[in-house]
């Protein structure tokens, strides 16, 4: 019993050190995914049949996804149904983040196209934006987002070929799914999504949202997956045909127009981004919202002409985590790397595991490389007694050291099953007086 307590104390010391290192890191994280159809000589094919032949990089670090390969920069190539998907790792919201995300995705696509060869081509299918949100606030954020921000987000993300917006509460994050978007459309949609999510997240009093138009879209359950789907016709007219002039019904009766909603919601979202992102990113959204630049649904077919200045992608915490590390008393290498959780094998005088929430990964690596965790890990390695086993997502909420891990896939929180109509209404209406 005492050995177990000493081990637990050493693990707690480790967790506290990681948490302290994390406090200096930006709090909000974003991730972006692009999905593509793969055409082989013009015919669509199931990407699952070819991804393992592409040999992109390290496999099996995500126990929930047999198709996922983690690339050296921390990005992922995988399959989602028949489509092939590239996903940048969660990166902190800081000045330049949107351009960096866009550049990384463009580089990933280029790399993927090169691996596929000339006969196979990629056709953009969808974009998924993820913003970190604590689990206990997800329902609130989904509700507020759909009621206030959905129409504006759809106008900024989807082109004329889009179908609508998917709003999904995922473990630890809000995921927004829409049409395939690149270049300026991607950057502006991402900046808006972050601002809107942070604005929803910041509200603690239901009355605070009253300054924004409260919309009354017809919402549907997402197909096959947990979440809410807002169709392009959910507001009555076709949002992607009428664009800024679309009449949007308000929850309390009456109408507003999409341009007014766009301007007002962006003003609220923009205010939350002050000090977090750069002026050029805000200016770019300003220009689109004000009509000085077109919305995606106002583009022609070619939106690549809107490309900004591309920057070389930089390394990320998820990329840095891939490398084995040697410390004076132990060596360490990853055995699991997901948005929610990273787990490392620690090999010293015995073998143990270090578990780190994904949100604290950057701080963990910085502290580790600086030697700030050496003492707590060495202390744990020196304990003998009853083994401590990590086997449940609840144990992964804080960084810790463990003697054993259970099935890796059971360490991840679960996505609930799809919703029913009544449940969607319950979720969207949950905040009541927003």
């Amino acid at each position: 019993m005492f050995a177990l307590r000493r081990s637990a104390a050493a693990s707690s010391a480790f967790g506290a050190a990681v948490a302290a290192a994390h406090r200096s890191q930006p709090s909000a994280l974003v991730g972006v995914e692009h999905e593509f159809r793969v055409l082989d000589d013009g015919r669509p094919i199931d990407a699952r049949t070819l991804i393992h032949g592409l040999g992109p990089s390290q496999r099996d670090l995500d126990p929930s996804d047999p198709y996922a390969y983690r690339l050296p920069d921390g990005s992922v190539v995988t399959c989602d149904g028949n489509e092939i998907e590239i996903a940048i790792p969660p990166v902190p919201v800081r000045p330049g983040f949107a351009a960096a995300a866009e550049a990384r995705l463009a580089a990933l696509r280029g790399d993927l196209e090169a691996r596929l060869g000339g006969q196979r081509t990629l056709v953009g299918y969808s974009t998924h934006l993820s913003i970190s949100v604590p689990d206990e606030r997800l329902a609130h954020v989904v509700s507020a987002f759909v009621r206030h921000y959905a129409a504006a987000q759809m106008l900024l993300l989807d082109g004329a070929q889009g179908v609508g917006l998917l709003v999904r509460p995922r473990p630890g994050r809000l995921e927004l799914g829409g049409a395939y978007a690149t270049d300026r459309a991607l950057r502006t949609a991402l900046v808006f999504a972050v601002g809107a999510t942070l604005e929803c997240l910041a509200r603690t009093d239901v009355g605070e949202g009253s300054a924004l138009p409260v919309l009354a879209p017809r919402v549907e359950p997402a197909r096959d997956r947990f979440g809410v789907y807002v169709d392009r016709t959910a507001f009555g007219g076709d949002l992607y045909v009428s664009g800024r002039e679309t009449a949007l019904p308000l929850r309390g009766g009456g109408l507003t127009d999409a341009q007014t909603g766009l301007a007002r919601t962006w003003a609220a979202a923009r205010a939350t981004l002050a000090g977090r992102v750069g002026g050029p990113e805000l200016d770019e959204v300003d220009a689109v919202v004000a009509g000085r630049q077109p919305l995606p649904c106002e583009y022609g077919a070619d939106i690549r002409s809107t490309a900004g200045t591309r920057r070389r992608p930089t390394q990320t915490a998820y990329g840095l985590a891939l490398a084995a590390r040697q410390r004076p008393d132990f060596a360490l290498a990853p055995v699991m790397l997901t948005w929610q959780l990273a787990v490392f094998l620690v090999a010293g005088q015995r073998r143990v595991f270090a578990a780190v929430p994904g949100s604290q990964l950057a701080g963990f690596l910085i502290a580790l490389d600086a030697g700030e965790l050496d003492a707590s890990i060495a202390s744990y390695l020196g304990q003998r007694g009853l083994p401590r086993t990590m086997s449940h997502p609840e144990q992964a909420r804080v960084a810790g050291l463990w003697d054993r891990i259970g099935a890796r896939r059971r360490l991840l929180p679960l996505d609930p099953p799809p919703m029913a109509r009544g449940q969607v209404a319950s979720l969207v209406n949950a905040a009541g007086a927003h």
């Binding site: 689990d135 197909r223 096959d224 084995a324 290498a333 086997s391 449940h392 029913a420 449940q423 319950s426």
Partner: protein, 237 residues
């Protein structure tokens, strides 16, 4: 470390062993939204696609097509886990319950609390048999409950033949959006639902046993081995 393999190799062995033993929880292979419309197909074709989408949605909810697998987050053999998941405080106002209610109208229940008291109904439930250790028990039942309505403090569930007949508290799990509890099993055979009671913040209680049994279609649960059966609105897979 002498001749011990490099840590990268040891890590690869850990991963390979995990995949070999547990496989992947492949929950990704479904789309959450309709596919994008091809460029230039926004007229009649777009309308046809939209009608098709609506048809699919209607079909989904009427006929109850398979839904996303819900892997259990149950324990692997360990002495460190409590017999029930860590309790989560119930937020106020009550959070929306994000477990899928059953699609069939026949499954919806009438709320039993009096009109003046707390209101609500069982929106969905899922009971699953897990043949994994839970403390001193060899196996256990996982009990998911989607509650639509006012938020109780907790539910208390008693199943004869499970958890030695002792009551189990269903706690709200914000990660799943459902009320959740585990009941240890010492063997196979018939287990019987004895009671389900909602405990409200004001100290009052509501007996939901009848509703639970009605939703279940009976009061008996058959536990077999090695089958890990599931009952109710559990996802396919």
């Amino acid at each position: 470390m002498g001749v011990t393999a490099p840590v990268e190799r040891q890590a690869a062995d850990v991963i390979a062993a995990d995949v070999a033993r547990y496989g992947h929880d492949d929950t990704r292979q479904r789309k959450g939204m309709p596919p994008p419309l091809p460029m230039g197909c926004l007229g009649l074709t777009g309308s046809v696609v939209l009608v098709t989408i609506i048809g699919l949605l209607v079909g989904f909810f009427i006929f109850g097509q398979p839904i996303t697998p819900l892997a259990t987050a149950g324990p692997s053999p360990t002495a460190t886990l409590p017999p029930t998941p860590a309790p989560s405080p119930t937020p106020s106002p009550p959070p929306p319950p994000p477990l899928s209610p059953r699609p069939s109208p026949s499954a919806s229940l009438t709320p039993s609390p009096s009109a003046a008291g707390p209101q609500g109904e069982i929106g969905a439930y899922c009971v699953r048999v897990e043949h994994s250790e839970l403390g001193e028990f060899l196996s256990y039942l996982e009990w998911f409950l989607l509650w639509l309505g006012d938020s109780p403090e907790y539910f208390e569930l008693i199943v004869r033949g499970a958890n030695d007949g002792d009551p189990v508290t269903l706690e709200f799990d914000p990660g799943r959006g459902t009320w959740y509890g585990r009941l240890g099993l010492r063997g196979t055979g018939t287990k019987q639902i004895v009671s389900l009671v909602a405990h409200w913040p004001d100290g009052s209680t509501t007996d939901l046993t009848g509703e639970m049994i009605e939703a279940f279609g009976g009061d008996e649960i058959e536990v077999r081995y090695p089958q890990e059966d599931s009952y109710g609105d559990c996802p396919a897979g």
